[in-house]
């Protein structure tokens, strides 16, 4: 299908632009690592308490890093109004949304190989390989959940003043389900799941992803439409 090819082109374009400006990727990584460190200062050097809060801190680090990545991903489009240039081509806005949201998800996935080990080391959590893989899968689901509404909101806030305040203001309450579900699931992965609660949390997280990946795709054209 034509739209799929266009989405692939857009994702490749975004990742290429991202890679050429990789200083940004590194600074977001560093930012995530610093937040992980700061969280441990907030709790104190009590390794038991740290381990208990590890899942929550890891997901919060992802959330805080994501807003930096999201608003930046549209700054590139606004600089020389490249987004308008794309809209002038025979491309459906929906394809623009899925291209951007996928690229943002990949960007957040790239944070995992650094932030997860840093968290495991700082919070003294021992984990076997299978569970680390589980954590990675969870990270992907959470990243997808943040990217869909985040991309939609960033497309709008990037054209306003005070975008740095507005994006988290709108996004954080919205992703409360993502936050809760992934903190709980991560906690179950880290500390064990004797009561088999994982399933319902994953269903909720996947449900959120499905709902928002569809809904935001429908609404995105209104966010970039020509009415202005």
């Amino acid at each position: 299908m034509r739209a799929l090819g266009q989405i692939a082109t857009l994702v490749r374009k975004d990742l290429l632009v991202e890679w050429r400006g990789r200083a940004r990727l590194f600074s977001v990584l560093l930012f995530g690592a610093v937040t992980l460190l700061l969280f441990s200062f907030a709790v104190g050097p009590d390794s038991l308490a740290l381990r208990a809060a590890a899942a929550g801190f890891l997901v919060l680090a992802l959330l805080l890093s994501s807003t930096m990545g999201l608003s930046e991903s549209f700054r590139v489009e606004q600089e020389q109004r490249a987004l308008e240039g794309l809209l002038l081509l025979p491309v459906e806005p929906v394809a623009l949304f899925y291209g951007k949201a996928l690229a943002n998800t990949v960007f957040l996935l790239l944070l995992a190989p650094i932030l997860i080990p840093v968290a495991l080391v700082l919070y003294a959590v021992e984990l076997e390989a299978a569970r680390i893989l589980g954590l990675l899968g969870l990270w992907a689901l959470a990243a997808a959940g943040l990217s869909a509404p985040g991309t939609l909101y960033a497309a709008m806030t990037s054209r306003l003043q005070s975008q740095d305040v507005l994006l988290p203001l709108l996004l954080f309450p919205l992703v409360v389900p993502v936050l809760m579900a992934s903190v709980k699931s991560a906690d179950l992965i880290l500390t064990g799941d004797p009561m088999a609660q994982m399933r319902s949390w994953l269903v909720l997280l996947i449900g959120f992803d499905v709902i928002y990946w569809s809904l935001c795709g429908v609404l995105f054209p209104y966010a970039v439409q020509e009415a202005q």
């Binding site: 509404p149 939609l152 909101y153 709008m156 806030t157 306003l160 003043q161 005070s162 507005l166 203001l169 709108l170 309450p173 919205l174 409360v176 389900p177 809760m180 579900a181 709980k184 609660q197 319902s200 949390w201 909720l204 449900g207 959120f208 709902i211 928002y212 809904l215 935001c216 609404l219 209104y222 966010a223 439409q225 009415a227 202005q228």
Partner: protein, 233 residues
């Protein structure tokens, strides 16, 4: 402007009168709750606020869909009014919840399912109002805030289920369900009272918005006199 009574004004007055009657019955006629005593009487404003604020947000969702669909400013104004009234009622219900929680549970805040969901809901819709304030172009403001209202509203049931499962790890504080028939009457009266007042305020708010927007509606300038040689080439 003539001082004729509009339908919504009549509704507002009816709402205030009903509220006085309902609150009187609730405070002085209905019996005190067996376990909690007079504290429980806050229920007569708490539950109506909760119900009607939820109703306001539901209406706002409907208006948002209509606004995107038709791009008529009327729906945008109705949506703004509904969100504003919903947020105010939501704030009131949170305060009432805290007032009730303190003597009942011994804490100001409890991560009760409905209370927590209400808090997130208020933050969501207050965010939509803050967002609106930054968008200058009226058409863009209408479209973007409708988008934000829709995705915020869809989030509410997800938040609710999340908090419920999240809570179920701890023990659930049961809300008293022993309801005397004498308590139902003031509850009903006050629910309609708050509903009427809410509708009246939404209509007022939408009207105010329409008036301030009418200043922006400038008629098209009159046609310039065609200059010589203006025939089509």
């Amino acid at each position: 402007m003539t001082k004729r009574l509009t339908w919504d004004g009549a509704l507002g007055i009816a709402g205030v009168l009903l509220f006085l009657v309902g609150s009187y019955i609730g405070l002085f006629v209905a019996p005190a709750e067996r376990h909690m005593g007079d504290v429980q009487r806050i229920m007569y404003v708490h539950l109506p606020s909760a119900w009607i604020s939820m109703l306001c947000f539901t209406a706002a969702f409907g208006f948002a869909v209509a606004s995107l669909w038709t791009s008529k400013p009327r729906w945008d104004r109705a949506m703004t009014g509904a969100i504003e009234v919903g947020v105010v009622l939501n704030a009131l219900l949170l305060i009432q919840g805290m007032i009730w929680a303190r003597p009942t549970w011994g804490v100001w805040w409890d991560w009760d399912v409905r209370l927590t969901t209400s808090l997130v809901m208020m933050l969501l819709f207050a965010g939509v109002l803050a967002f609106r304030a930054f968008i200058e172009d009226p058409e863009r403001r209408a479209a973007w805030s409708a988008v934000a209202a829709i995705i915020s509203f869809v989030d509410v049931p997800l938040v609710y289920f999340c908090v419920r499962w999240w809570r179920s790890i701890h023990q659930i504080q049961s809300t008293p369900s022993t309801v005397d028939p004498a308590m139902v009457l003031p509850l009903r009266i006050n629910s309609f009272a708050v509903l009427f007042i809410a509708i009246w305020m939404i209509v007022q708010r939408a009207r105010l918005e329409a008036e301030s927007a009418s200043g922006e509606r400038v008629p098209e300038p009159s046609r310039l006199a065609p200059s010589e040689g203006a025939e089509h080439a």
